[in-house]
Symmetry: C2
Subunit: 282 residues, 2 copies
Amino acid sequence: MSALILDGKSVTKKSEEDLRSRVARLKKLSNGAVPILATILVGNDPSSATYVKMKSNACTRVGMDSLKIEMSEETTTEELLAEIAKLNANPNIHGILLQHPVPPQINERQCFDSIDLSKDVDGVTCWGFGRMAMNETSYGSATPKGIIRILEAYDIPLEGKHAVVVGRSPILGKPMAMMLLNKNCTVTICHSKTVGLDKIIKNADIIVGAVGKPEFIKAAWIKDDAVVIDAGYHEGGVGDIELEPLMNRVKAYTPVPGGVGPMTINTLIYQTVEACELKLEK
Amino acid sequence: MSALILDGKSVTKKSEEDLRSRVARLKKLSNGAVPILATILVGNDPSSATYVKMKSNACTRVGMDSLKIEMSEETTTEELLAEIAKLNANPNIHGILLQHPVPPQINERQCFDSIDLSKDVDGVTCWGFGRMAMNETSYGSATPKGIIRILEAYDIPLEGKHAVVVGRSPILGKPMAMMLLNKNCTVTICHSKTVGLDKIIKNADIIVGAVGKPEFIKAAWIKDDAVVIDAGYHEGGVGDIELEPLMNRVKAYTPVPGGVGPMTINTLIYQTVEACELKLEK
C-alpha cells in the first residue's frame, strides 16, 4: 500500500486562490487598501532571512502587501519593543510577524508578548496561546495551526486518535498538543527527558515530529497505518523523522520539503487576511 | 507494602504556620494592613457556598482578611464584570476568587478573564494559563498547583516519569498537564473521547484523576508502584479513582478527603500572600 502524501504545496495553492479573492474583496470594500503584514527580521541569520522572504512573497501572490523591517544584530530588547509598539499603533498594519529566533541579547518572550492580540497572526503570544488552549477565538501558532489545516484538508480523522507530539517548544510542540486535544485526540507530549520514547511512539495513531534534530525519530518506532507529520527541516532536505522507509506502510505522511513548511507560511497569510476582515467588519 | 499517604492536611498545616509568619511580617511592614482575598459567590449552590466558607476560614487561620461578596442567582454577566472591575481597582484587595461554577446565564470565561493578572491568585485567566504554560511568572490554577506542591512536599520524582491526566477542564486537566510537562514529565491527556483508557493508564507512573465522576478510574487499570492523585470529591467521601484496593500496592496516593482538597485551598491563600508581598516589594 502506498501512503497518502499530505501535499502542503497543493493545499496552499488552493488556499491562495481563495485568499486572492478575499483580498480583492477587501480591496474593494476599503477603497484600494489591502491587508498588510509587517515582518520583522532581526540580525543576519540567513535561514531567517529566507523564511521572511518566502513570507513576503506569499503576501504578494495573494495581492497583499508586506512591510519589511530589518534590524541589526545588535538590536536591544527596548529597540525591538519600540518597533513593535509602533506597528501595534499603526492602523494600516493588520498582522505582525517577528521572525524567530532573535539574537540572544533580546528577551524574545517579552517582545512576542508585546504584540497586540489582534495582530498576533503568527500566534506567538502567551495570551493567544491561553485563549487557543481554552477554545476561545484566537490566531493559532502558525506551524501547528498549519498542521491542523492540512489534516483537515485531507479529512484525516482526529477524534479518539492517540497523537504523540515529540517536542515542547512554545510555538510548536505545546500549541500542537493543545490543538490536537481540542480536536478530541488523546495527546501525549514527549521531549528530551522522556524515557522509552520508542515504545510511546509505537502507540501513536498520529505522530508529530517537532524536535529539530535530523531524522531523530526512527521509522522502526512508528506503527503501520500511522499518520506521520514531520515539522522539521534540515540540510539535505530531511526532517525530524526517518521518512523514507515509511512511505509504503503508513497511512499518510507530510513530505519534507513540501509538507508542513508551506502550510506554516500559508497559515500566517491566511490569519492576516482574517485579521483584516475582522477589523473591517467591526 | 503500604503506600505512602500524601497527606494534604499535614502539608497545609505546615504551610499555614509559614504563611502566618509571612502575614505577620506584611502587617508590620504596612502599618497593620493584611493581605485581603475577595471571594465572589454567585447563586445558591450549597457546595459552592461551603467551598467559599472554607476558603475564608483558611484566610482567618493565617491572619489574613477576606471580603465576602455574594450575588444572586439572577446576576448577569455585566453585573459580575462590574463587580470584578471594582475589585481590580481596589488597592486593598490582593487576590480575587470567583467561585466556579457560576449560574448558566453568565459568561464565566469572560468574567474569569476580566480578573487582573496581578490578582488572579486562583489561576483562572487564559493569560495566566498561557504564561504558566510558557514558564513565565504566574499564579497557577489552584488545584493543579496544589497537586504539584504536594508532590514536591513528599519529594516525589517527576522528571522522566509518564504522567497520565484524565480530564481536560480549563482549571484542572489542562493546567495540570502543562505543569507536569514543565516538571519534565512525559504527559498524556485523556478525556471522554479517549479510546482504550485502561491500557493508557496501565503505563502511568503518575495518574491524576480529574474527571468528576465517582470512582470512574478502576484500581485494576493502575500499575503497582504508581503515584495516584485523586482530584475528585463526591458524596460518600469517594473520589474519581477506586482507591481502596490500591492502598497496599501503589507507591503513594492522595486520600479522599484530605488530599488534594486542602491543597487547593492552601494554594489559593499562599498565592494571595505572594501577591501582597509582590505588591509591597514594588
